[in-house]
Amino acid sequence: MMGDLLALELRKAFHNKWFAMALSVGCFLASVAAWGCFQQFEKSSPWLIDMSKYYYPPSSVSAYGYWMVADASQPAGDLYFLLLPLLAAIPFSWSLLSERRSGYAAHLAARVGKTRYLVAKHAAAFIAGGTAAAVPLILNFVLCICFAPLLVPTVQAITMFGVYEDALWSIFFYNLPLLYCGLRTALVFLFAGLWASAVMALSGMVKSRIALLLLPYLFLVLLRMLEQSILYTLFELREALTPFFYLRTVPIGSQYTSAWVIALEFAVMGAFALAVLLVRRREDFL
Protein backbone atom coordinates (compact mmCIF):
# COMPACT_ATOMS: atom_id res chain seq x y z
CA MET A 1 0.00 0.00 0.00
CA MET A 2 2.69 2.47 1.08
CA GLY A 3 4.88 1.32 -1.80
CA ASP A 4 2.08 1.95 -4.31
CA LEU A 5 1.44 5.36 -2.86
CA LEU A 6 5.12 6.29 -2.97
CA ALA A 7 5.34 5.02 -6.55
CA LEU A 8 2.32 7.17 -7.45
CA GLU A 9 3.86 10.28 -5.88
CA LEU A 10 7.25 9.60 -7.46
CA ARG A 11 5.58 9.23 -10.85
CA LYS A 12 3.89 12.61 -10.33
CA ALA A 13 7.15 14.16 -9.14
CA PHE A 14 9.29 12.90 -12.02
CA HIS A 15 6.70 13.30 -14.76
CA ASN A 16 5.90 16.96 -14.43
CA LYS A 17 7.24 19.85 -16.46
CA TRP A 18 8.62 21.66 -13.40
CA PHE A 19 10.96 18.77 -12.64
CA ALA A 20 12.03 18.80 -16.30
CA MET A 21 12.57 22.56 -16.15
CA ALA A 22 14.68 22.45 -12.96
CA LEU A 23 16.75 19.57 -14.33
CA SER A 24 17.22 21.32 -17.69
CA VAL A 25 18.40 24.56 -16.08
CA GLY A 26 20.81 22.64 -13.84
CA CYS A 27 22.18 20.52 -16.71
CA PHE A 28 22.54 23.58 -18.94
CA LEU A 29 24.60 25.41 -16.31
CA ALA A 30 26.66 22.26 -15.64
CA SER A 31 27.41 21.93 -19.37
CA VAL A 32 28.35 25.61 -19.70
CA ALA A 33 30.67 25.27 -16.68
CA ALA A 34 32.29 22.18 -18.23
CA TRP A 35 32.73 24.01 -21.55
CA GLY A 36 34.45 26.91 -19.73
CA CYS A 37 36.76 24.45 -17.97
CA PHE A 38 37.53 22.77 -21.29
CA GLN A 39 38.68 26.10 -22.75
CA GLN A 40 40.75 26.74 -19.65
CA PHE A 41 42.25 23.23 -19.89
CA GLU A 42 43.17 23.76 -23.55
CA LYS A 43 44.99 26.97 -22.71
CA SER A 44 46.81 25.80 -19.60
CA SER A 45 47.52 22.09 -20.00
CA PRO A 46 50.47 22.28 -22.47
CA TRP A 47 52.19 24.85 -20.28
CA LEU A 48 51.47 22.96 -17.09
CA ILE A 49 52.70 19.61 -18.42
CA ASP A 50 55.80 21.17 -19.94
CA MET A 51 56.64 22.99 -16.72
CA SER A 52 55.59 20.16 -14.45
CA LYS A 53 59.09 19.18 -13.41
CA TYR A 54 59.70 22.75 -12.23
CA TYR A 55 56.41 23.93 -10.76
CA TYR A 56 53.32 21.79 -10.83
CA PRO A 57 52.79 18.06 -11.19
CA PRO A 58 50.65 16.84 -14.13
CA SER A 59 47.81 16.10 -11.72
CA SER A 60 47.14 19.84 -11.46
CA VAL A 61 45.08 19.49 -14.65
CA SER A 62 43.14 16.54 -13.20
CA ALA A 63 39.43 16.30 -14.00
CA TYR A 64 38.74 16.27 -10.25
CA GLY A 65 39.97 19.86 -10.07
CA TYR A 66 37.66 20.94 -12.91
CA TRP A 67 34.58 19.40 -11.33
CA MET A 68 31.94 22.02 -10.52
CA VAL A 69 32.10 21.43 -6.78
CA ALA A 70 35.87 21.86 -6.60
CA ASP A 71 36.27 24.49 -9.31
CA ALA A 72 35.42 28.14 -8.62
CA SER A 73 36.54 29.62 -11.92
CA GLN A 74 33.29 29.35 -13.87
CA PRO A 75 30.41 31.82 -13.48
CA ALA A 76 27.98 29.11 -14.62
CA GLY A 77 29.08 26.96 -11.66
CA ASP A 78 28.65 29.89 -9.27
CA LEU A 79 25.19 30.59 -10.69
CA TYR A 80 24.24 26.92 -10.35
CA PHE A 81 25.03 26.95 -6.63
CA LEU A 82 23.20 30.26 -6.20
CA LEU A 83 20.08 28.80 -7.83
CA LEU A 84 20.41 25.35 -6.25
CA PRO A 85 17.88 25.82 -3.41
CA LEU A 86 15.31 27.04 -5.94
CA LEU A 87 16.06 24.23 -8.37
CA ALA A 88 15.60 21.72 -5.54
CA ALA A 89 12.21 23.10 -4.49
CA ILE A 90 10.73 23.70 -7.95
CA PRO A 91 10.16 20.03 -8.95
CA PHE A 92 7.61 18.98 -6.34
CA SER A 93 7.58 21.09 -3.14
CA TRP A 94 4.52 23.01 -4.32
CA SER A 95 2.39 19.90 -4.86
CA LEU A 96 1.01 19.51 -1.32
CA LEU A 97 -0.31 23.08 -1.28
CA SER A 98 -1.69 22.61 -4.77
CA GLU A 99 -3.47 19.36 -3.92
CA ARG A 100 -4.89 20.73 -0.68
CA ARG A 101 -6.32 23.71 -2.50
CA SER A 102 -7.85 21.57 -5.23
CA GLY A 103 -9.35 19.10 -2.75
CA TYR A 104 -7.40 16.16 -4.17
CA ALA A 105 -5.45 15.77 -0.90
CA ALA A 106 -8.66 15.28 1.08
CA HIS A 107 -9.82 12.50 -1.28
CA LEU A 108 -6.51 10.66 -1.25
CA ALA A 109 -6.00 11.08 2.51
CA ALA A 110 -9.45 9.62 3.10
CA ARG A 111 -8.51 6.55 1.05
CA VAL A 112 -4.97 5.85 2.28
CA GLY A 113 -4.71 7.75 5.57
CA LYS A 114 -3.25 11.17 6.22
CA THR A 115 0.07 9.95 7.65
CA ARG A 116 0.81 7.70 4.70
CA TYR A 117 -0.20 10.39 2.25
CA LEU A 118 2.03 13.01 3.90
CA VAL A 119 5.00 10.65 4.26
CA ALA A 120 4.75 9.70 0.58
CA LYS A 121 4.49 13.36 -0.43
CA HIS A 122 7.56 14.39 1.59
CA ALA A 123 9.55 11.37 0.42
CA ALA A 124 8.73 12.17 -3.22
CA ALA A 125 9.71 15.83 -2.74
CA PHE A 126 12.96 14.72 -1.08
CA ILE A 127 13.91 12.35 -3.89
CA ALA A 128 12.84 14.70 -6.72
CA GLY A 129 14.65 17.70 -5.18
CA GLY A 130 17.79 15.68 -4.53
CA THR A 131 17.78 14.24 -8.03
CA ALA A 132 17.29 17.64 -9.69
CA ALA A 133 20.31 18.94 -7.77
CA ALA A 134 22.64 15.93 -8.03
CA VAL A 135 22.21 14.94 -11.69
CA PRO A 136 23.83 18.17 -13.05
CA LEU A 137 26.87 17.51 -10.83
CA ILE A 138 27.21 13.99 -12.23
CA LEU A 139 26.77 15.31 -15.78
CA ASN A 140 29.46 17.94 -15.17
CA PHE A 141 31.85 15.30 -13.83
CA VAL A 142 31.25 13.06 -16.85
CA LEU A 143 31.89 16.01 -19.20
CA CYS A 144 35.08 16.92 -17.31
CA ILE A 145 36.52 13.42 -17.62
CA CYS A 146 35.85 13.62 -21.37
CA PHE A 147 38.67 16.17 -21.79
CA ALA A 148 40.84 16.11 -18.66
CA PRO A 149 42.84 13.13 -17.32
CA LEU A 150 41.43 11.42 -14.28
CA LEU A 151 44.65 11.74 -12.28
CA VAL A 152 44.64 11.52 -8.51
CA PRO A 153 45.24 15.09 -7.23
CA THR A 154 48.52 15.57 -5.37
CA VAL A 155 49.12 17.91 -2.46
CA GLN A 156 51.97 19.59 -4.37
CA ALA A 157 49.32 21.26 -6.54
CA ILE A 158 47.24 22.41 -3.57
CA THR A 159 47.33 26.05 -4.66
CA MET A 160 45.94 25.08 -8.06
CA PHE A 161 43.03 23.15 -6.54
CA GLY A 162 42.33 25.45 -3.61
CA VAL A 163 41.31 22.42 -1.54
CA TYR A 164 43.13 23.10 1.71
CA GLU A 165 43.33 20.99 4.84
CA ASP A 166 40.43 22.79 6.56
CA ALA A 167 38.12 21.99 3.60
CA LEU A 168 35.54 19.33 4.38
CA TRP A 169 36.77 15.80 3.48
CA SER A 170 39.92 17.21 1.84
CA ILE A 171 41.80 14.05 2.90
CA PHE A 172 39.64 12.06 0.48
CA PHE A 173 40.23 14.58 -2.32
CA TYR A 174 43.97 13.80 -2.29
CA ASN A 175 43.69 10.07 -1.53
CA LEU A 176 40.38 8.68 -2.73
CA PRO A 177 39.04 11.36 -5.07
CA LEU A 178 36.25 9.23 -6.51
CA LEU A 179 34.94 8.63 -3.00
CA TYR A 180 35.26 12.38 -2.42
CA CYS A 181 33.08 13.08 -5.45
CA GLY A 182 30.54 10.52 -4.23
CA LEU A 183 30.42 12.05 -0.76
CA ARG A 184 30.12 15.60 -2.10
CA THR A 185 27.33 14.58 -4.48
CA ALA A 186 25.57 12.81 -1.61
CA LEU A 187 25.89 15.98 0.48
CA VAL A 188 24.28 18.06 -2.28
CA PHE A 189 21.56 15.41 -2.73
CA LEU A 190 20.86 15.40 1.00
CA PHE A 191 20.72 19.18 1.25
CA ALA A 192 18.46 19.51 -1.79
CA GLY A 193 16.17 16.73 -0.56
CA LEU A 194 15.86 18.14 2.95
CA TRP A 195 15.36 21.65 1.59
CA ALA A 196 12.59 20.47 -0.78
CA SER A 197 10.93 18.61 2.08
CA ALA A 198 11.22 21.56 4.48
CA VAL A 199 9.76 23.91 1.86
CA MET A 200 6.86 21.50 1.37
CA ALA A 201 6.33 21.53 5.14
CA LEU A 202 5.67 25.27 4.92
CA SER A 203 2.63 24.59 2.73
CA GLY A 204 0.11 25.27 5.48
CA MET A 205 1.71 28.58 6.42
CA VAL A 206 1.57 30.44 3.10
CA LYS A 207 -1.25 30.67 0.60
CA SER A 208 0.59 31.25 -2.63
CA ARG A 209 2.76 28.67 -4.38
CA ILE A 210 5.12 31.37 -5.61
CA ALA A 211 5.60 32.63 -2.04
CA LEU A 212 6.06 29.04 -0.84
CA LEU A 213 9.03 28.53 -3.16
CA LEU A 214 10.55 32.00 -3.13
CA LEU A 215 10.29 33.18 0.50
CA PRO A 216 12.50 30.38 1.92
CA TYR A 217 14.99 31.10 -0.88
CA LEU A 218 15.02 34.81 -0.06
CA PHE A 219 15.56 33.82 3.58
CA LEU A 220 18.73 31.96 2.54
CA VAL A 221 20.00 35.01 0.63
CA LEU A 222 19.18 37.10 3.72
CA LEU A 223 21.19 34.69 5.85
CA ARG A 224 24.11 35.07 3.45
CA MET A 225 23.74 38.87 3.65
CA LEU A 226 23.79 38.78 7.45
CA GLU A 227 26.77 36.44 7.36
CA GLN A 228 28.66 38.62 4.86
CA SER A 229 27.82 42.11 6.12
CA ILE A 230 27.17 41.78 9.84
CA LEU A 231 28.16 38.46 11.44
CA TYR A 232 31.61 38.31 9.87
CA THR A 233 32.29 42.05 10.23
CA LEU A 234 31.15 42.40 13.83
CA PHE A 235 31.68 38.95 15.32
CA GLU A 236 34.32 37.49 12.97
CA LEU A 237 32.17 34.42 12.37
CA ARG A 238 34.19 32.34 9.90
CA GLU A 239 31.98 29.29 9.44
CA ALA A 240 30.00 29.32 6.18
CA LEU A 241 26.30 29.26 7.09
CA THR A 242 24.67 29.03 3.70
CA PRO A 243 24.62 26.20 1.13
CA PHE A 244 25.77 28.64 -1.57
CA PHE A 245 29.26 28.09 -0.14
CA TYR A 246 29.35 25.07 2.16
CA LEU A 247 28.26 22.76 -0.64
CA ARG A 248 31.41 23.73 -2.53
CA THR A 249 35.03 23.00 -1.79
CA VAL A 250 36.84 26.26 -2.45
CA PRO A 251 36.81 28.66 0.52
CA ILE A 252 35.47 32.19 0.06
CA GLY A 253 37.64 34.79 1.75
CA SER A 254 38.59 33.55 5.18
CA GLN A 255 35.43 31.46 5.57
CA TYR A 256 35.56 27.72 5.88
CA THR A 257 33.15 24.80 5.87
CA SER A 258 32.27 23.41 9.26
CA ALA A 259 30.85 19.89 9.44
CA TRP A 260 29.04 20.87 12.63
CA VAL A 261 27.22 23.77 10.97
CA ILE A 262 26.17 21.53 8.08
CA ALA A 263 25.01 18.78 10.44
CA LEU A 264 23.07 21.28 12.54
CA GLU A 265 21.38 22.88 9.53
CA PHE A 266 20.46 19.50 8.07
CA ALA A 267 19.09 18.40 11.46
CA VAL A 268 17.00 21.59 11.73
CA MET A 269 15.55 21.13 8.24
CA GLY A 270 14.79 17.45 8.84
CA ALA A 271 13.31 18.08 12.30
CA PHE A 272 11.16 20.92 10.97
CA ALA A 273 9.75 18.79 8.15
CA LEU A 274 9.10 15.90 10.56
CA ALA A 275 7.49 18.10 13.22
CA VAL A 276 5.16 19.74 10.70
CA LEU A 277 4.27 16.32 9.30
CA LEU A 278 3.37 15.05 12.78
CA VAL A 279 1.25 18.13 13.49
CA ARG A 280 -0.41 18.11 10.10
CA ARG A 281 -1.61 14.51 10.29
CA ARG A 282 -4.00 15.68 13.02
CA GLU A 283 -5.36 18.48 10.82
CA ASP A 284 -8.67 18.27 9.08
CA PHE A 285 -7.91 18.12 5.37
CA LEU A 286 -11.46 19.09 4.49
Partner: protein
Protein backbone atom coordinates in the same frame (compact mmCIF):
# COMPACT_ATOMS: atom_id res chain seq x y z
CA UNK B 1 -14.21 50.80 -17.39
CA UNK B 2 -11.32 53.18 -17.89
CA UNK B 3 -7.60 52.62 -17.41
CA UNK B 4 -7.75 54.75 -14.27
CA UNK B 5 -10.39 52.56 -12.66
CA UNK B 6 -8.39 49.41 -13.40
CA UNK B 7 -5.30 51.12 -12.00
CA UNK B 8 -7.19 52.18 -8.88
CA UNK B 9 -8.31 48.56 -8.47
CA UNK B 10 -4.71 47.39 -8.88
CA UNK B 11 -3.38 49.89 -6.37
CA UNK B 12 -6.03 48.80 -3.87
CA UNK B 13 -5.46 45.07 -4.35
CA UNK B 14 -1.84 44.97 -5.41
CA UNK B 15 -0.37 47.58 -3.08
CA UNK B 16 -2.66 48.53 -0.19
CA UNK B 17 -3.62 44.93 0.59
CA UNK B 18 0.04 43.93 0.54
CA UNK B 19 1.14 46.42 3.21
CA UNK B 20 2.85 43.58 5.10
CA UNK B 21 5.29 43.17 2.23
CA UNK B 22 6.25 46.82 2.47
CA UNK B 23 6.66 46.43 6.23
CA UNK B 24 9.05 43.54 5.50
CA UNK B 25 10.91 45.78 3.02
CA UNK B 26 11.25 48.40 5.76
CA UNK B 27 12.65 45.77 8.14
CA UNK B 28 15.09 44.68 5.46
CA UNK B 29 16.35 48.24 4.93
CA UNK B 30 16.87 48.47 8.72
CA UNK B 31 19.23 45.49 8.38
CA UNK B 32 20.83 47.19 5.39
CA UNK B 33 21.56 50.27 7.53
CA UNK B 34 22.89 48.00 10.27
CA UNK B 35 25.28 46.48 7.71
CA UNK B 36 26.45 49.98 6.80
CA UNK B 37 27.10 50.81 10.46
CA UNK B 38 28.95 47.48 10.85
CA UNK B 39 31.16 48.42 7.88
CA UNK B 40 31.87 51.79 9.51
CA UNK B 41 32.77 50.10 12.80
CA UNK B 42 35.17 47.75 11.00
CA UNK B 43 36.74 50.74 9.22
CA UNK B 44 37.06 52.67 12.49
CA UNK B 45 38.83 49.71 14.07
CA UNK B 46 41.55 50.07 11.43
CA UNK B 47 41.53 53.89 11.03
CA UNK B 48 40.31 55.31 14.37
CA UNK B 49 38.34 58.58 14.39
CA UNK B 50 38.53 58.98 10.62
CA UNK B 51 34.79 58.64 9.95
CA UNK B 52 32.09 60.89 11.37
CA UNK B 53 28.31 60.44 11.24
CA UNK B 54 26.90 59.41 7.88
CA UNK B 55 25.06 61.81 5.59
CA UNK B 56 21.92 60.89 3.65
CA UNK B 57 24.09 60.50 0.55
CA UNK B 58 26.31 58.02 2.43
CA UNK B 59 23.28 55.98 3.46
CA UNK B 60 21.92 55.86 -0.10
CA UNK B 61 25.30 54.85 -1.49
CA UNK B 62 25.68 52.24 1.27
CA UNK B 63 22.24 50.71 0.66
CA UNK B 64 22.91 50.32 -3.08
CA UNK B 65 26.67 49.89 -3.06
CA UNK B 66 26.92 46.50 -4.78
CA UNK B 67 30.51 45.45 -5.37
CA UNK B 68 33.52 46.71 -7.26
CA UNK B 69 34.46 45.01 -10.52
CA UNK B 70 35.34 41.34 -10.00
CA UNK B 71 38.62 40.26 -11.53
CA UNK B 72 39.04 36.50 -11.59
CA UNK B 73 41.75 35.11 -9.36
CA UNK B 74 41.83 31.43 -8.32
CA UNK B 75 42.79 32.52 -4.80
CA UNK B 76 39.84 34.91 -4.66
CA UNK B 77 36.68 33.07 -5.78
CA UNK B 78 33.63 35.13 -6.63
CA UNK B 79 31.48 36.07 -3.64
CA UNK B 80 28.15 37.56 -4.77
CA UNK B 81 27.08 40.81 -3.07
CA UNK B 82 24.22 39.37 -1.00
CA UNK B 83 22.95 42.71 0.34
CA UNK B 84 22.71 44.26 -3.11
CA UNK B 85 21.29 41.09 -4.67
CA UNK B 86 18.63 40.75 -1.98
CA UNK B 87 17.61 44.41 -2.33
CA UNK B 88 16.68 43.94 -5.96
CA UNK B 89 15.34 40.40 -5.52
CA UNK B 90 12.88 41.88 -3.02
CA UNK B 91 11.89 44.63 -5.47
CA UNK B 92 11.41 41.97 -8.15
CA UNK B 93 9.42 39.74 -5.76
CA UNK B 94 7.09 42.65 -4.91
CA UNK B 95 6.08 42.98 -8.55
CA UNK B 96 6.18 39.32 -9.53
CA UNK B 97 2.96 37.60 -8.68
CA UNK B 98 0.05 40.01 -8.60
CA UNK B 99 -0.48 40.62 -12.35
CA UNK B 100 -0.46 36.91 -13.20
CA UNK B 101 -2.72 36.01 -10.29
CA UNK B 102 -5.03 38.87 -11.26
CA UNK B 103 -5.27 37.47 -14.76
CA UNK B 104 -6.37 34.11 -13.35
CA UNK B 105 -9.08 35.70 -11.23
CA UNK B 106 -10.76 39.09 -11.17
CA UNK B 107 -8.51 40.53 -13.87
CA UNK B 108 -10.13 38.23 -16.44
CA UNK B 109 -13.52 39.82 -15.67
CA UNK B 110 -11.96 43.29 -15.69
CA UNK B 111 -10.63 42.69 -19.17
CA UNK B 112 -14.12 41.71 -20.31
CA UNK B 113 -15.81 44.61 -18.48
CA UNK B 114 -13.30 47.15 -19.82
CA UNK B 115 -13.44 45.55 -23.27
CA UNK B 116 -9.75 46.40 -23.49
CA UNK B 117 -6.85 44.06 -22.97
CA UNK B 118 -4.47 46.94 -23.64
CA UNK B 119 -5.99 48.95 -20.79
CA UNK B 120 -5.42 46.01 -18.43
CA UNK B 121 -1.78 45.78 -19.57
CA UNK B 122 -1.08 49.51 -19.22
CA UNK B 123 -2.65 49.47 -15.77
CA UNK B 124 -0.27 46.67 -14.77
CA UNK B 125 2.71 48.63 -16.13
CA UNK B 126 1.65 51.67 -14.10
CA UNK B 127 1.12 49.41 -11.08
CA UNK B 128 4.75 48.26 -11.41
CA UNK B 129 5.82 51.90 -11.56
CA UNK B 130 3.83 52.68 -8.39
CA UNK B 131 5.16 49.59 -6.58
CA UNK B 132 8.78 50.47 -7.37
CA UNK B 133 8.09 54.08 -6.33
CA UNK B 134 6.72 52.90 -3.01
CA UNK B 135 9.68 50.54 -2.59
CA UNK B 136 12.06 53.49 -2.86
CA UNK B 137 9.81 55.65 -0.66
CA UNK B 138 10.02 53.02 2.09
CA UNK B 139 13.78 52.85 1.58
CA UNK B 140 14.06 56.65 1.83
CA UNK B 141 11.94 56.75 5.00
CA UNK B 142 14.07 54.09 6.73
CA UNK B 143 17.32 55.79 5.70
CA UNK B 144 16.06 59.17 7.01
CA UNK B 145 15.04 57.55 10.30
CA UNK B 146 18.45 55.90 10.63
CA UNK B 147 20.10 59.23 9.90
CA UNK B 148 18.07 60.91 12.65
CA UNK B 149 19.19 58.26 15.12
CA UNK B 150 22.82 58.52 13.99
CA UNK B 151 22.81 62.32 14.12
CA UNK B 152 23.96 62.72 10.53
CA UNK B 153 23.30 65.54 8.08
CA UNK B 154 20.38 65.50 5.63
CA UNK B 155 22.53 66.24 2.64
CA UNK B 156 23.19 64.23 -0.50
CA UNK B 157 26.91 64.96 -0.32
CA UNK B 158 28.99 61.82 0.14
CA UNK B 159 31.69 61.88 2.82
CA UNK B 160 35.22 61.45 1.46
CA UNK B 161 35.78 58.27 3.51
CA UNK B 162 32.56 56.50 2.50
CA UNK B 163 33.95 54.77 -0.63
CA UNK B 164 36.74 53.45 1.59
CA UNK B 165 34.26 52.20 4.21
CA UNK B 166 32.32 50.41 1.46
CA UNK B 167 35.49 49.02 -0.18
CA UNK B 168 34.89 50.61 -3.59
CA UNK B 169 38.52 50.26 -4.60
CA UNK B 170 39.98 53.19 -6.56
CA UNK B 171 37.09 55.54 -5.92
CA UNK B 172 37.04 59.16 -7.06
CA UNK B 173 34.76 61.63 -5.35
CA UNK B 174 33.55 65.08 -6.21
CA UNK B 175 32.12 64.42 -9.67
CA UNK B 176 30.07 67.43 -10.78
CA UNK B 177 26.40 66.84 -10.01
CA UNK B 178 27.08 64.66 -6.96
CA UNK B 179 25.09 61.45 -6.72
CA UNK B 180 22.07 62.75 -8.66
CA UNK B 181 22.77 60.54 -11.71
CA UNK B 182 22.72 57.52 -9.41
CA UNK B 183 19.50 58.67 -7.72
CA UNK B 184 17.77 58.93 -11.10
CA UNK B 185 19.20 55.74 -12.53
CA UNK B 186 18.35 53.50 -9.56
CA UNK B 187 14.53 53.74 -9.83
CA UNK B 188 14.65 53.89 -13.62
CA UNK B 189 16.69 50.70 -13.92
CA UNK B 190 14.58 48.99 -11.23
CA UNK B 191 11.40 49.80 -13.18
CA UNK B 192 13.06 48.40 -16.33
CA UNK B 193 14.02 45.20 -14.48
CA UNK B 194 10.53 44.73 -13.04
CA UNK B 195 8.75 45.49 -16.33
CA UNK B 196 10.97 43.01 -18.14
CA UNK B 197 10.11 40.45 -15.48
CA UNK B 198 6.40 41.30 -15.81
CA UNK B 199 6.52 40.70 -19.56
CA UNK B 200 8.45 37.44 -19.12
CA UNK B 201 6.04 36.28 -16.41
CA UNK B 202 3.20 36.42 -18.95
CA UNK B 203 5.23 34.58 -21.57
CA UNK B 204 7.04 31.93 -19.49
CA UNK B 205 5.15 32.21 -16.15
CA UNK B 206 6.25 33.95 -12.94
CA UNK B 207 8.68 31.42 -11.50
CA UNK B 208 10.89 31.00 -14.59
CA UNK B 209 10.83 34.77 -15.06
CA UNK B 210 12.10 35.16 -11.48
CA UNK B 211 14.90 32.70 -12.27
CA UNK B 212 15.80 34.99 -15.20
CA UNK B 213 15.89 37.98 -12.82
CA UNK B 214 18.18 36.17 -10.36
CA UNK B 215 20.45 35.13 -13.25
CA UNK B 216 20.53 38.65 -14.72
CA UNK B 217 21.46 40.20 -11.37
CA UNK B 218 24.07 37.53 -10.70
CA UNK B 219 25.69 37.96 -14.14
CA UNK B 220 25.64 41.74 -13.67
CA UNK B 221 27.63 41.39 -10.47
CA UNK B 222 30.07 38.94 -12.07
CA UNK B 223 30.72 40.85 -15.32
CA UNK B 224 31.21 44.58 -15.53
CA UNK B 225 29.65 45.33 -18.88
CA UNK B 226 27.34 48.14 -20.04
CA UNK B 227 24.94 45.56 -21.51
CA UNK B 228 23.90 44.06 -18.17
CA UNK B 229 21.35 46.24 -16.42
CA UNK B 230 22.42 45.33 -12.89
CA UNK B 231 25.72 47.19 -13.34
CA UNK B 232 23.81 50.49 -13.33
CA UNK B 233 22.21 49.55 -10.01
CA UNK B 234 25.55 49.51 -8.17
CA UNK B 235 27.07 52.64 -6.66
CA UNK B 236 30.44 50.88 -6.56
CA UNK B 237 30.49 50.71 -10.37
CA UNK B 238 28.98 54.11 -11.08
CA UNK B 239 30.96 56.81 -12.85
CA UNK B 240 30.06 58.99 -9.88
CA UNK B 241 32.77 57.15 -7.94
CA UNK B 242 34.87 55.17 -10.37
CA UNK B 243 36.91 56.34 -13.33
CA UNK B 244 35.57 54.39 -16.30
CA UNK B 245 32.48 53.41 -14.32
CA UNK B 246 28.97 52.91 -15.65
CA UNK B 247 27.74 56.12 -17.23
CA UNK B 248 24.38 57.76 -16.61
CA UNK B 249 23.59 58.21 -20.30
CA UNK B 250 24.27 54.57 -21.21
CA UNK B 251 22.25 53.37 -18.21
CA UNK B 252 19.32 55.65 -19.03
CA UNK B 253 19.33 54.51 -22.67
CA UNK B 254 19.48 50.81 -21.74
CA UNK B 255 16.78 51.14 -19.05
CA UNK B 256 14.60 53.25 -21.37
CA UNK B 257 15.00 50.77 -24.21
CA UNK B 258 14.12 47.84 -21.93
CA UNK B 259 11.04 49.68 -20.64
CA UNK B 260 9.83 50.45 -24.17
CA UNK B 261 10.54 46.91 -25.43
CA UNK B 262 8.82 45.32 -22.41
CA UNK B 263 5.72 47.55 -22.67
CA UNK B 264 5.37 47.21 -26.43
CA UNK B 265 6.10 43.46 -26.53
CA UNK B 266 3.82 42.92 -23.52
CA UNK B 267 1.02 44.81 -25.23
CA UNK B 268 1.37 42.67 -28.35
CA UNK B 269 1.47 39.50 -26.24
CA UNK B 270 -1.56 40.45 -24.15
CA UNK B 271 -3.60 41.18 -27.27
CA UNK B 272 -3.15 37.69 -28.68
CA UNK B 273 -2.92 35.49 -25.57
CA UNK B 274 -5.67 33.12 -24.46
CA UNK B 275 -6.74 34.38 -21.04
CA UNK B 276 -9.35 31.66 -20.53
CA UNK B 277 -6.94 28.73 -20.82
CA UNK B 278 -4.21 30.19 -18.61
CA UNK B 279 -2.93 27.60 -16.16
CA UNK B 280 -2.92 28.31 -12.48
CA UNK B 281 0.26 26.55 -11.36
CA UNK B 282 3.33 28.65 -10.47
Amino acid sequence: MSLYRILAFDLRNGVARHWRRYAAIAAFFCLSVLALFAARKAYLDVYPSSVGPFTLGDCVVGAFSGMKEYVFDPRNPFDFPALWLLTFLLAAYLTLHYPYRDLLGVGRHLVVAAQSRVGWWYAKCLWVLASVGLFYAVCGAVLCLALLLDGGAFTLDVSPRTPGVLAFGHAVLGQPGGIWPLLVLLPLATVALCLLQLFLSLVIKPLPSYLCTVSLLFLSSYFKTPFLLGNYLMAARSEVFITGGMGFAAGAVLAGALIIVSVVAGRAWVQQMDIIEKESIL
